[in-house]
């Protein structure tokens, strides 16, 4: 399974596919309603089957944090695993 739409080129290919898909259904449907239905079912199953099997082979994304500021700069990070009482919290806030 893959996301079939990521860029203009893929959207263009999707358009071509849609034209073929609906064109075949329309031609069959004009000839005979049941033929149209059959073509619709066969094509739909085919598309779903193809889509379920499709994969992209890509390298995984890099995940590196972006750092700004001087390398030895100190920052405040509040540690959340310890709790102080409500009143002492207020006192520390009011400075």
């Amino acid at each position: 399974m893959k996301n079939p739409l990521r860029s203009e080129a893929e959207a263009f290919r999707f358009l071509l596919g849609a034209a073929v898909y609906f064109g075949l259904i329309a031609i069959a449907g004009v000839i005979n309603h049941w033929a149209g239905l059959a073509v619709f079912v066969v094509l739909s199953v085919g598309v779903v089957w193809w889509w379920m099997r499709a994969r992209r082979i890509e390298p995984p994304l890099q995940a590196t944090p972006v750092r700004r500021g001087a390398p030895d700069e100190r920052r405040i990070l509040v540690i959340a695993n310890r709790r102080r009482s409500w009143s002492s919290r207020l006192r520390s806030i009011r400075l």
Binding site: R67, R75, L77, V78
Partner: protein
């Protein structure tokens, strides 16, 4: 032009305009004449087309009104500056990078302009929605005043129908849905470690559509013939052929509100997918982010259906088309199918963000990890998928194909399973915790208990035989208020109290908060619980008058509802007072692990001067030395090192 990664050229910040040029700069000075200009353009085009086609009369009120309900808002948006950047971009001129210089709020005036800072927009959303919440609440008070005694006392039938229609439309489209969008707007980028939303200008624009939609709906009271009076559901053919022009105000108001929520949802989705901090995998996202993600998917997929349904009704009304006119080949029930295909998912659009808020608050305040985190996230997805398969349970008595009823009942019942998982998981999170009963926690617990009652009455309504008896009665009124008031509103309050210190940098008044909770909780139950009985006994909903045997209970409900309305005053007073005079809040008063609490209160303009690295799950309370995120490795300074006196 050299090779660049952006294909636009930025000009420097615009010099402040002087003299008459201020009329040309985006802002409130440009609004009046731009609005007038667009009014003229709308009217001119309409008259021109009608004249060319030889339609009589050339000036037709209903058509002009419909066109102007589109044109005038565009004029307003153009005036205030919603499109400046894109117009310059489209013309190939250098663009002004207002998403940078326009960030942040340095004075109250910055809240009244196009502002691209997600934190400012979040507050704009919340204040606006609370305004409409109060307005819609006042309409409800009027309604209850009329219903206190049988017979007609204060308003006539048409006005009464307008009252409950506008009440519901405002509460749904202008309060619950955008209030969650507001909280999400403020919190989501912070939670996932992003400097802003993905599309800041789109974000600003989607906020400014809201007041337009709201004033359009309120303004329908001024339209000739009165406000739209076909309920917020606006069933055709009543709404399409038997309503005054005010009904078009509703049709268009829904379009504007819907466009706003689609744009916001799209923004949330793109932000959550593409802008998460390194290490923030989907399974490390806080549940509020999960909730907003699923909600946004629902909005993007479902909202166009209500847009469609309102277009159809409006065309039937103004252009005399035949979508719902059976005599010309239309299909009246089609409206309900299309409408509910949006409006049932809309129930989850109004609930899922609340689930997210409740998860955050309950976990932090119980000092325990969320019980069954993955199942909590998966149940959100299950509700999302199932939500699209249950719309016809609103139509068990509507005359749709009888064979559809049992399948729809089954899917509706099945939704109780993921919902039950969530409730039980919250209970298990509470269990053996160290529970702190601050106001957000009270509202979260109030939400769980009231939502359980609303969910259980939902089981009654999902069972077809009982639904046949109770649909369109006060039982439904009770149910929807237990779910939307006890569910959505309680979580909105929980969220507002919870993030109030983060948003304003000040602490709300805890005693007033608790008072607000208890008044709301008691008033709410006294108001809405008796309605279950009324409905089962035979009082239909949406009636201005009722049989005398229900008089006493209705009087009781009305009195209780006035008390409930008064409780809102405590809330508004607390908010206003604390925002101005409250004590300064700490960066992390709740000792939460999630990212928004790791920056100052209120956060700096671009949230993080360094994008954090996410290293763990967001709810590791009680796990020794657990971290959700670190800033540049392990150089944290502990709380005790903060200079205190």
């Amino acid at each position: 032009m050299t090779a660049v990664t952006h294909d636009e050229v930025h000009a420097g910040p615009a010099p402040p305009p002087t003299g008459w040029r201020r009329l040309l700069a985006p802002g409130w000075l440009r609004v009046p004449w731009m609005t007038a200009l667009f009014f003229g353009i709308g009217a001119g085009i309409t008259v021109l087309v009608r004249w060319l086609e030889g339609w009589d009369p050339i000036w037709k009120g209903s058509v002009i009104t419909t066109v102007e309900l589109t044109a005038v808002p565009f004029g307003f948006l153009a005036g205030i500056g919603g499109f400046d950047y894109w117009m310059r971009y489209a013309a190939g001129s250098p663009t002004r990078p207002e998403d940078h210089s326009g960030h942040g709020a340095r004075s109250w005036r910055d809240y009244f302009r196009i502002n691209t800072d997600h934190k400012v927009i979040g507050i704009q959303y919340l204040v606006t929605t609370i305004f409409f919440f109060v307005a819609a609440g006042l309409l409800a008070m009027l309604m209850r005043a009329e219903l206190a005694r049988p017979g007609m006392q204060f308003v006539d039938n048409q006005t009464f129908n307008g009252l409950f229609s506008v009440h519901a439309a405002l509460m749904i489209f202008l309060f619950v849905i955008p209030a969650f969008a507001g909280i999400g707007n403020y919190v989501i980028p912070l939670m996932i470690g992003a400097p802003d939303m993905a599309f800041p200008r789109l974000n600003a624009l989607s906020f400014w559509l809201l007041p337009i939609a709201g004033f359009m709906m309120l303004g329908s009271f001024l339209a000739p013939g009165g406000a739209f009076a076909s309920g917020w559901t606006g069933y055709a053919p009543l709404a399409s052929t038997h309503q005054p022009i005010g009904s078009v105000f509703f049709n268009m108001g829904v379009q504007w509100a819907g466009a706003s929520s689609i744009m916001t949802a799209l923004n949330f989705l793109v932000t959550i997918i593409t802008m998460r901090a390194p290490g923030m995998s989907f399974w490390r996202m806080p549940l509020l982010v999960w909730a907003n993600f699923t909600t946004s998917l629902l909005v993007v997929i479902a909202t166009p259906f209500i847009a469609g349904s309102q277009f159809f009704v409006m065309f039937d009304h103004v252009m005399h088309t035949h979508f719902f006119d059976y005599q010309a080949g239309g299909y009246p029930l089609g409206y309900q199918h299309i409408f509910w295909f949006y409006s049932h998912p809309a129930v989850y659009i109004m609930m899922l963000p609340g689930f997210g808020i409740a998860s955050e608050v309950i976990s932090v305040m119980s000092r325990k990890p969320i019980f069954g985190y993955r199942l909590m996230a998966l149940s959100l997805l299950a509700i999302l998928v199932l939500g699209f398969s249950v719309w016809a349970h609103h139509m068990f008595v509507a005359g749709m194909a009888p064979w559809l009823r049992v399948p729809m009942m089954v899917t509706s019942m099945v939704i109780a399973v993921p919902t039950g998982i969530k409730v039980f998981s919250w209970l298990a999170t509470l269990w053996d915790g160290r529970i702190h009963f601050d106001t957000p926690m009270l509202f979260a617990l109030g939400f769980v208990s009231m939502f359980v009652i609303g969910g259980l009455s939902g089981i009654y309504l999902a069972a077809v035989p009982i639904d046949i008896h109770t649909s369109d009665t006060y039982f439904v009124v009770a149910h929807i208020h237990y779910v939307l008031f006890g569910g959505s509103l309680f979580t909105i309050f929980a969220g507002i109290y919870f993030w109030f210190p983060k948003m304003t940098g000040r602490m709300y008044d805890e005693r007033l908060g608790k008072l607000h909770f208890w008044l709301t909780f008691i008033g709410f139950n006294l108001t809405f619980f008796p309605m279950h009985w009324l409905g089962i006994q035979g009082m239909p909903r949406r009636v201005a008058d009722y049989v005398p045997r229900f008089a006493d209970l209705n009087m009781f409900i009305s009195l209780a509802s006035f008390g409930l309305g008064a409780s809102t005053l405590v809330f508004v007073y607390n908010m206003v007072k604390s925002w101005r005079f409250g004590p300064a809040a700490a960066a992390n008063p709740w000792r939460s692990l999630t990212l928004e609490w790791q920056v100052s209160s209120p956060p700096p303009i671009f949230n993080f001067d360094e994008i954090p690295q996410v290293v763990g799950n967001p709810y590791e309370y009680g796990v020794p030395d657990a971290r959700h995120a670190v800033f540049n490795g392990d150089r944290q300074v502990e709380l005790e090192e903060v200079p205190t006196r």
